[in-house]
């Protein structure tokens, strides 16, 4: 049964990559987005780019994971194609994981490209390459699970986009990329610590430029793991409820 589910996850991932993510317009967007992000911040603040680099990787991860995935799931729900997965002999968990991994792989492509730009042009190093990879994958999985949660909460593609923005923009502004979390007013700090991207930025900073926040590395990774489990459980519950 587990083997069937794992195969199901893999085949759903392959299908989604081929049918949606690895289409020429998406690949070009995946290349253009980090380039535009780099250009915009280079023009605005050419000297502080190294400090900013982990935040830019996190931002690329946010848009890479959530932008397409929420559309893919709501689109398939709308056309009835999601039902093909729901009538297949695999568990709901496997279907959800297949979908989450699609967003994760696409996010990895975009944030990976942002990482290459950061290393090549900003001189960013990787002080703990293995932990950086763990931080990035955990970030991508968590944000992708958030994208899945958003997608299963709504019916229409435009609703998924709107709802995603409610999460994306506050996360970007409060995660510590632009203003350190410690420098924010106390109520905003409380909100920042409720957002997964805050922990992503903390772990990416610690593992790339070696700047540890007061949280260290283990706390952000543990927090991201909790967010991941929470988002997956909530998305699973909503998907299951839709079958009632």
């Amino acid at each position: 049964m587990l083997a069937d589910d794992l195969r199901g996850v893999y085949f759903i991932l392959l299908k989604d990559l081929k049918a949606y993510y690895f289409k020429p317009p998406n690949i070009s967007w995946g290349i253009l987005f980090p380039l535009v992000l780099t250009l915009a911040f280079s023009l605005r603040n050419p000297v502080g780019l190294l400090e900013l680099a982990p935040g830019l990787i996190a931002m690329a991860a946010v848009f890479g994971t959530t932008s397409m995935e929420a559309i893919v799931i709501t689109f398939e729900r709308r056309t009835g194609a999601l039902e093909r997965l729901l009538i297949a002999p695999i568990s709901l968990k496997a279907i959800l994981m297949g979908k989450v991994l699609g967003g994760t792989v696409f996010g990895l492509m975009i944030s990976g490209f942002m990482t290459i730009i950061s290393i090549t042009f900003f001189g960013m190093g990787l002080v703990a390459p293995l932990w950086f990879l763990i931080s990035l994958i955990l970030t991508l999985l968590t944000l992708s699970a958030l994208g899945a949660l958003v997608a299963v909460s709504v019916k229409e593609v435009f609703e998924a986009q709107t709802l995603s923005n409610y999460f994306r923009f506050p996360m970007i502004f409060l995660c510590g990329v632009f203003i350190p979390v410690g420098a924010m007013p106390a109520p905003l700090q409380a909100v920042a610590y409720l957002l997964p991207l805050t922990y992503s930025v903390a772990s990416l900073r610690a593992t790339t430029i070696g700047v540890s926040s007061s949280l260290g590395l283990i706390v952000p990774l543990a927090a991201l793991s909790l967010f991941l489990v929470g988002f997956l459980a909530a998305a699973h519950a909503l998907l299951k409820k839709s079958l009632k």
């Binding site: 049918a19 093909r84 297949a88 079958l243």
Partner: protein
């Protein structure tokens, strides 16, 4: 013969609306079972419960010997589903769509290509294997969806309006395929709004109205249960007068429309003699004469109170 599908008081409520109301049925292995009813009668909801797309509010069911509540994954392994919508992936080719289905249903790797090749041949899709699903016509899409439901060679197939949107030739070849499946002892659970199709294909038919089964029997028995006697239809050279109709009514129920007359036959010889005698007394010629057996469509209309033509139009409008 073993039961392939057993429904025991299966019920589905959506708030205060009961879509399926305590439905109990036994469908034997190898049977083609027609499930008919007006639009919104609960046909699709019943199928959705049996294949795990929605959970029953009450009652139980087993499919292929497995409970739809406790062992739904085992049920899904053993059934093929042709949904009402052609819901494959527009961006994938016909081949890739069938390959994805074969993978999801755990068809062994070394058998996939052969099975897909056979299905492409059966459904005359060989020259479309590399065409994206989204670019196919409605009829071709339907064929691919049916092929996708058969790729893992299920023993039980649920077909929800399989010929809807198909051209005449494709519909004929699908009906042929359903007959072949029956010969291979595959159980087919078929919903269709083409009553004649259900009549031709089904071993038994159930008619569901407002979530409740009103009759389950062979098409022949259902037709017989509606009207005891066949009908004699005659076309006359001119409309009969009231007196002639009253005299004919002594032999059975009479309906007339201008110069066409329909008489329910109790005694064929007596009715024929009366008709010819009464007509010749008035100088009326009998220009055409034949008997009509009640059709399954007549039975459907009588049991549901819904015209099949109205149902078809509603269905087509909904599909637009």
């Amino acid at each position: 013969m073993k039961d392939a599908i057993v429904l025991d008081g299966l019920t589905k409520d959506y708030g205060s609306l009961t879509a399926v109301d305590h439905v109990s049925l036994n469908i034997e292995e190898g049977e083609v079972f027609g499930f008919l009813g007006p639009n919104g009668a609960g046909k699709t909801t019943t199928i959705r419960m049996l294949v795990g797309l929605t959970t029953p509010s009450e009652g139980s069911a087993t499919v292929a010997g497995y409970d739809i509540g406790d062992d739904i994954v085992e049920v899904k392994r053993r059934v093929g589903v042709v949904p009402e919508a052609s819901n494959l992936y527009d961006e994938l080719s016909v081949w890739d769509n069938l390959l994805f289905s074969s993978r999801l249903y755990h068809v062994p790797k070394d058998e996939r290509a052969a099975r897909i090749g056979d299905l492409l041949e059966i459904f005359k899709l060989e020259d479309r294997r590399n065409t994206k699903f989204g670019r196919l016509s409605k009829g071709l899409k339907r064929r691919v969806v049916i092929a996708a439901a058969l790729v893992h060679q299920p023993r039980i197939i649920f077909m929800d309006e399989p010929t809807s949107g198909l051209d005449v030739l494709s519909a004929l070849s699908l009906r042929r395929l359903i007959r072949e499946l029956r010969l291979e002892d595959t159980t087919v659970f078929l919903t269709t709004h083409y009553i004649e199709e259900a009549d031709q294909l089904s071993d038994r038919v159930a008619i569901i109205v407002e979530g409740r089964i009103v009759i389950v029997d062979t098409p022949e028995n259902i037709k017989l249960s509606i009207r005891g006697a066949p009908i004699l239809e005659a076309r006359l050279s001119q409309a009969p007068d009231q007196l002639m109709i009253r005299e004919l009514e002594l032999g059975g129920r009479v309906e007339f429309n201008e110069n066409r007359i329909r008489i329910e036959i109790e005694n064929l010889t007596g009715t024929l003699e009366s008709l010819i005698m009464l007509a010749s007394q008035r100088g009326i010629q009998v220009t055409d004469l034949h008997t009509l057996q009640p059709s399954l469509e007549d039975a459907f209309v009588e049991l549901t109170g819904v015209s099949t033509e109205v149902m078809r139009v509603e269905k087509e409008n909904r599909g637009r």
